[in-house]
């Protein structure tokens, strides 16, 4: 079984990367291939990186409140690029109503503060749409 490939991304201006880095490391420890984009990525840069790196999952970390502008743009770009087989998972400061809305737009899962690494790893694994 091939390794699951995950892109962990920090979109927008938010520079708080503690969570994204801890999760990237946990996913690596769980046997996944993780590419961390670094900070201040635009949706275009993220989708392009996902394409280049041929990932099955994109993890977006957003704590700035800008998720309603950023996430739909990522989803649109994935549709434009015919990459809808890539699962998108969002983590950060996302209120419940916004989380429901994002899931309606195709986001596979939304993690709010306090989520356990074990659960995140499990959900990432199960979100993979292509055969691994």
């Amino acid at each position: 079984m091939d390794q699951i490939r995950v892109l962990v991304a920090k979109p927008g201006l938010d520079g708080h990367d503690r969570g994204a880095k801890v999760i990237a490391r946990a996913l690596r420890d769980a046997g996944m291939e993780v590419i961390y984009t670094g900070l201040r990525q635009t949706p275009e840069m993220i989708v392009n990186a996902a394409l280049q790196e041929d990932v099955q999952v994109i993890g977006l970390s957003i704590l700035s409140g800008a998720h309603n502008a950023i996430v739909p743009r990522v989803m649109d770009l994935l549709r434009e690029q015919r990459m809808t087989d890539v699962a998108v998972i969002v983590g950060g400061i996302i209120p419940d109503e916004d989380a429901s809305e994002l899931k309606k737009q195709g986001v596979a899962a939304v993690f709010q503060p306090g989520a356990s690494l074990e659960e995140i790893v499990r959900v990432v694994r199960s979100s993979v749409k292509q055969p691994a």
């Binding site: 201006l13 520079g15 490391r25 900070l39 700035s64 309603n68 950023i70 419940d96 306090g114 356990s116």
Partner: protein, 533 residues
Amino acid sequence: MSKGHTATGGKPVTTLSGLPVQPVYGPEDIAGLNLAEAPGEFPYTRGIHPDMYRGRLWTMRQFSGFATPEETNRRYQYLLEQGQTGLSVAFDLPTLMGFDADQPESLGEVGKCGVSICSLEDMETLFRGIPLERVTVSMTINSPAAIIWAMYLAVAEQQGADWGRISGTLQNDILKEYIAQKEYIYPPHPSMRLVTDTIEFATQQVPRFNPISISGYHIREAGSTAVQELAFTLRDGIEYAEWAVERGLPVDAFAGRLSFFFNAHNDFFEEIAKYRAARRMWAQIMRDRFGARDERSWKLRFHSQTAGCSLTWQQPYNNVVRTAIQALAAVLGGTQSLHTNSLDEAYALPSEHAVTLALRTQQVIAHESGVTAAPDPLGGSFFLERLTADVEEAANEYIRRIDGMGGMIPAIEEGFPQREIAQASFEYQQSIESGERKIAGVNAFTVENEQPIELLAIDESAAGHQVEKLAALRRRRDGTRVTAALDALRRAAEGSENTMPVLLEAVRAYATVGEMTAALRDVFGTYQEKSIL
């Protein structure tokens, strides 16, 4: 290094930083220590004033800002009415990163994490009705700090306030951006030049202002231990002092206005030990390493903020308790200024109700708890004095290592502090995952179906409002004057003159944050970090 706290089954017990805690402490643990000095006496372990809070309470300074300058001005008026004694400005991410509200990078971000400030016009609105000669203001701004400070000085000037009398603080600590908060724009050397420009300008023209707040808060929030927080902060302080001396400033001309900013985290006694160790270490660094002679140069003054990263999404009312305990640690540690977080920290910017309760937390401690009656009331405690010495020793070891690397900038370029922080934060998370460290509501004492809490909402109309104002501003202002000012700014940046005068001219001409940042970026370039997981 951070291990669990649990004292069950004979397992070793440590502080949050991993320092061992013995089963009991007694006189033999402090027998060899020099505990003779009183509060207000070098090296100020027990506080920088002989009387501490008997003479004057700490400043209650709630960090605040959201949406438009108009709305934030209203919140500031409210907080001052509720008994806050100093202001503290939170800027939005576009402002922090040097972008105007109408730039593409700002989409979705305007006013969300703080107030949107694009030009002097916004700064004027922010401080409408607030006399800068009577109210001290702290501004949490880093890469664009010199720009924002120029706007502040211009507003003070408009109000007829004397620059020689206004006081406040500029965070302006770029080194910790590379280490932890990541709001850098330019590379380290030109950024340090800008910081040194502000320190020099302050010593010459704004002598009661603190041009820098050398910070550990963000380092701690990024996941460091208390020891790392202390060590990296003081070593950053050493770096700033070296650059100022290199600029030709005598140490006693500027050192008295270097201020500090620490986290107030959960491990009650370790935090108090940290503050006491910080004062002792800095006094010795200033006197012995830098040859400072004025006692104002020796006295470490600091602001504290209770630990945002310790507050939870689950059972948010538990956060009121955490904040109260953390605030008490900061007070028992002798802080000069304090921000207490709101219970909704994990959800949103503070609602009016939540920030009022956070302010009341300070007021209860100040007026009802009795802890302000004696300076350093825990001084002489076997446990605390031993812990203070242990924290100091562990922090000094880090400082020696960074000295060995050639200083903080080489250490940053090598990724040393970033690696230490990443490791500490991962270990901390593991201790929660394993249940070794219990957090009420998160991995212990959980409940199903919690009641939602009322939150502050910031809608997109703030962005629209700011964008419209910018369009009107660009039409109204003297474009020729702006262009000339930006050219002068670029020339100053290319040379070695102090950039503050040209920034002031650009600000008075109503150049925008984005325009001034872009001009500097043209000259200085940008910084790309090498990510360390």
